[in-house]
Amino acid sequence: MDAESLLLSLELASGSGQGLSPDRRASLLTSLLLVKRDYRYDRVLFWGRILGLVADYYIAQGLSEDQLAPRKTLYSLNCTEWSLLPPATEEMVAQSSVVKGRFMGDPSYEYEHIELQKVNEGEKVFEEEVVIQIKEETRLVYVIDQIDKAVAIIPRGALFKTPFGPTHVNRTFEGLSLSEAKKLSSYFHFREPVELKNKTLLEKADLDPSLDFMDSLEHDVPKGSWSIQMERGNTLVVLRSLLWPGLTFYHAPRTRNYGYIYVGTGEKNMDLPFML
């Protein structure tokens, strides 16, 4: 959610039950403003909160002028001091994908993962158990990256692409209409499109290239991994992800308010197919 409309956004996203306490809110308002100034971001988003056993991580993201450029991620334990996280590399992804369980809450905590590796010693080849240490910070980067790629969404029309390349916030976006808001196809993944190229020419003909340049939620696998609800008597549409429980996206139709926040344990719901 945009740091500028933080209070309103938190109120709108409160249907999922988990939000921020007043002191965190107050410190966020101030500190995000300073972050924006210091790092010279165009927009700062409050991404959410990852619950750990000992402490929680508060995550913010900074965007530059081009909305689809890779975002910079910052984390804080107390909503006051923010540290920049490194961008996710493939190596990090490979390493951290084996870690399971809750987050500790201590960024320097190291997970131990035992792997069997084949070691060549002279002519013999035998397997040895190698203990790999994975820092929690790395895992944090990985999880945030996964969640962003999988479930960060924006409504259709909120961004538009210029012919020169960069994507801009659409100042004439007035919100989705009520009927559009209930359809999954009106929401896009907030990332570089992956499946767009696989669409048939017939489908592509209907798309508006300046608005429909990202993947929509319609073809997400598994089907039904999003729950769309109208809350507050049809004045608020809330999408909750079932794949990453804790991700809540809200939008007030016919207004410009929209945003998403993740408050959860940072674990993917691998049981989803059984639960639907």
């Binding site: 988990q18 729950s227 639960m275």
Partner: protein, 713 residues
């Protein structure tokens, strides 16, 4: 540039065509023709409307005037069709400027459009005056008088006027205009003398022509370009968006859409907003409830006050912990609870929490009815089971020949009575505050046992079936009730000492029911320091009974009943006589005794605020049931649940494997299938039989022989 009227148009068109082509080049020659012809037609129309006299100056002035009336900056930016040459012409006037001092067009363009490259402004003063006046026209005809003065100016530039005039002819369409113009043109064509009066008319005509073209209605949409452009430019000037040039197409689209949307608005909006209004009406009813009650309200209030919890206060504390539904939503829930307590005879009521679902959510209220006011329970399920049992027995009796199955369905464990164990409280749910509350049926042990084995999302509809393996006995309302029971049993905690056992304890023998069920508030509770509550888990205790793996809180010994049946049946029993009694942790055990999940402690404790610890409250989060929270400020405490309603497991869910095939019938030769003998076997058998026969015959023969021998003797 010849004077003949008839070929004039062609030539003018030619010249204009050249003007257009050479527009970008801006050579000295071409600009002559490209004098803003279209501006002039526009203004020419005005001129026509008001009078023809001030044509001449009008022609020049309207160039800029027209430009301003069209919205100044619109020149290069509008995607207007080609015939609109003001854009084009606007740049060319500049070279003309030095030549034509009074015309003032270039300086005007200078002022109004940025595209126009400016040469010097020849005679700015009179021109500026005129331009000022012109700019104020804006499709009005105010500049008549002014321009009339200016009409004299073109005198000075006869040949140029002619050239201008020629350039203006390109848009000539209307014969009327043509004739008039031709007349005036004729005058103009007298070189260098009195051409000024004629020239304006030519320009005016062209302007009028161009304007007429723009006003032409489109056959498809009923709009005309003139109106569209003027609307668009009006909108832009009103709103003044940034970088209008970048979004001009969008603006154009928006203006077009604004024409159409009004027709359909009424229908669509009504459909969409109806559900919103419905719910708003219902919620309004919540707020109005207070006035409906009569005189008895005061009396009832006394009773009701005890029942209704102070939801707002608890919500405030939970908000400190970062948990909550938002203030207005909580207030509406508060009112809905009040409605619940008003309509049902409730002793105590509590806002239990919110369970999220796929289509709708559940708001759950935990309720305790007043003594003796229980509503009747539905006993259909038990009846059905009995019927089934009887039927199966009947079948068996009729056909004794069939082998008897040894299978006995495991005894259905009866559910607990209401007000005891898992059914201690009654739960009401509603989808949204304002909707009616629905009572959930009591939970049976079988449901709890199976609920432990499955993991399903709630849809939000109470009658939705649960399709799972093992098959869940019931629909979503039963599953919901079972999960609520499990969550309550697992996560409802209170500070140590808040509750104490009632003084009338049942006998302390192991026997099951009633021993430590009852607890009551401790009036002497003095509160625990918040810091203590946070530091150790032993200061918190469970105040809801643990549910045994049987599915009940109080052990039910199903063996007892079995004994009766056993006497009737054969002595073959494969069941053990003694089922071990399941024991769970007794009531009011501290939560420090809770088991860990792998290496994760079952509870996480926090202070609500690190910055101001003296007023902070202790917050407990359950790691076993994510979404279960409890807070305490030392004296008060409350439990709350908000989540999807599932237990946390670090491993992935694996559905239980179907049990192995049961040995229902004793296998013996009577019912075991025998293979039919194969060909070889049959032959071997036959051979063996024949051998036996032969042997028998031989025996007989020998016997006969012996007999015969005996006889003979």
């Amino acid at each position: 540039m010849e004077e003949s009227t008839s070929p004039k148009q062609e030539k003018e068109n030619q010249e204009l065509g050249e003007a257009r082509r050479s527009w970008d080049v801006k050579t000295a020659a071409s600009p002559q023709y490209s004098e803003p012809a279209s501006f002039e037609p526009l203004e020419a129309k005005q001129g026509l409307e008001t009078g023809r006299q001030s044509r001449s100056s009008r022609y020049w002035s309207p160039q800029s005037g027209a430009r301003t009336s069209l919205g100044g900056s619109a020149g290069p930016e509008t995607s207007s069709p080609a015939p609109l040459s003001p854009r084009e012409s606007s740049s060319t006037p500049s070279p003309l400027a030095p030549a034509i001092q009074d015309l003032g067009a270039p300086p005007q363009s200078d002022r109004t459009t940025s595209v126009i490259p400016e040469a010097g402004t020849p005679d700015p003063d009179p021109l500026e005056q005129s331009s000022d006046k012109r700019e104020s026209t804006h499709h009005t005809n105010q500049s008549d008088g002014n321009t009339f003065q200016q009409s004299q100016q073109p005198h000075l530039c006869g040949p140029r006027a002619v050239s201008y005039k020629n350039a203006n002819q390109k848009e000539l369409r209307f014969d009327v205009f043509q004739e008039e113009v031709s007349n005036s043109d004729y005058d103009l064509h007298q070189p260098a003398t009195g051409g000024s009066e004629v020239a304006p008319s030519m320009l005016e005509t062209t302007v009028q022509n161009a304007k007429a073209y723009l006003l032409k209605t489109s056959s498809k949409s009923g709009l005309n370009l003139y109106d569209h452009l003027s609307n668009m430019l009006t909108k832009i000037l009103d709103e003044r968006p940034e970088n209008a040039v970048d979004i001009i197409e969008n603006i154009s689209q928006d203006v077009k859409m604004a024409h159409f949307s009004k027709k359909f608005d009424a229908l669509q909006n009504e459909n969409e907003m109806l559900p919103t209004y419905e719910i708003a009406e219902k919620q309004k009813a919540l707020f109005l409830q207070v006035h409906l009650e009569g005189v008895d309200q005061e009396l009832e209030d006394e009773i009701v006050e005890n029942a209704l919890p102070n939801v707002m206060e608890s919500a405030f504390y939970f908000e400190q912990a970062g948990v909550g539904l938002g203030t207005d939503e909580t207030y509406r829930i508060f009112l809905a609870l009040k409605q619940l307590t008003d309509t049902h005879p409730i002793q105590r009521c509590r806002f239990w929490g919110k369970i999220l679902g796929l289509e709708m959510n559940y708001i759950v209220a935990e309720v305790e009815f007043r003594e003796g006011e229980d509503e009747e329970e539905v006993e259909e399920e038990d009846v059905d089971e009995e019927r089934d049992n009887r039927e199966s027995e009947a079948d068996e009796d009729e056909e004794d020949e069939l082998p008897k199955s040894l299978y006995k369905a495991p005894q259905a464990i009866p559910k607990e009575e209401s007000r005891t164990g898992a059914n201690k409280y009654v739960y009401f749910v509603c989808n949204e505050p304002g909707r009616p509350w629905v009572k959930l049926p009591p939970v049976t042990p079988a449901q709890i046992v199976i609920a432990r084995k499955i993991k399903k999302f709630f849809t939000g509809r109470l009658d939705a079936p649960i399709i799972s393996y093992p098959p869940f006995p019931g629909n979503e309302s039963n599953y919901l009730r079972a999960q609520i029971a499990r969550i309550s049993a697992g996560t409802h905690v209170s500070p140590l000492g808040f509750y104490q056992f009632g003084e009338e304890e049942g006998e302390e023998e192991e026997e099951v029911e009633g021993s430590q069920n009852s607890f009551e508030e401790n009036p002497d509770f003095e509160g625990i320091q918040v810091i203590d509550l946070v530091e150790t888990l032993s200061n918190w205790v469970h105040h809801v009974q643990h549910i045994l793996s049987q599915g009940r809180c109080n052990w039910f010994n199903s063996v007892q009943k079995n004994e009766e049946e056993e006497e009737e049946e054969d002595e073959e029993k494969e069941e053990p006589d003694y089922i071990e009694q399941e024991v769970g942790p007794p009531l009011l055990t501290p939560i420090s005794e809770d088991l860990e999940i792998q290496n994760i402690p079952p509870w996480t404790t926090r202070l609500s605020s690190n910055l101001i610890p003296q007023y902070a409250i202790a917050v407990l989060q359950s790691n076993l049931w994510p979404g279960a929270y409890a807070f305490s400020n030392g004296k008060k405490f409350e439990n709350f649940y908000i989540g999807w309603g599932h237990k946390y497991s670090p491993d992935n869910y694996t559905p239980p494997v179907p049990p192995p095939v049961y040995q229902e019938y004793p296998s013996g030769p009577e019912i075991t299938e025998m293979d039919d003998p194969g060909v070889e076997e049959e032959q071997a058998f036959r051979a063996a039989q024949e051998a036996v026969l032969l042997a028998a015959e031989e025996n007989e023969e020998t016997e006969e022989d012996e007999d015969e021998e005996d006889d003979y003797d």
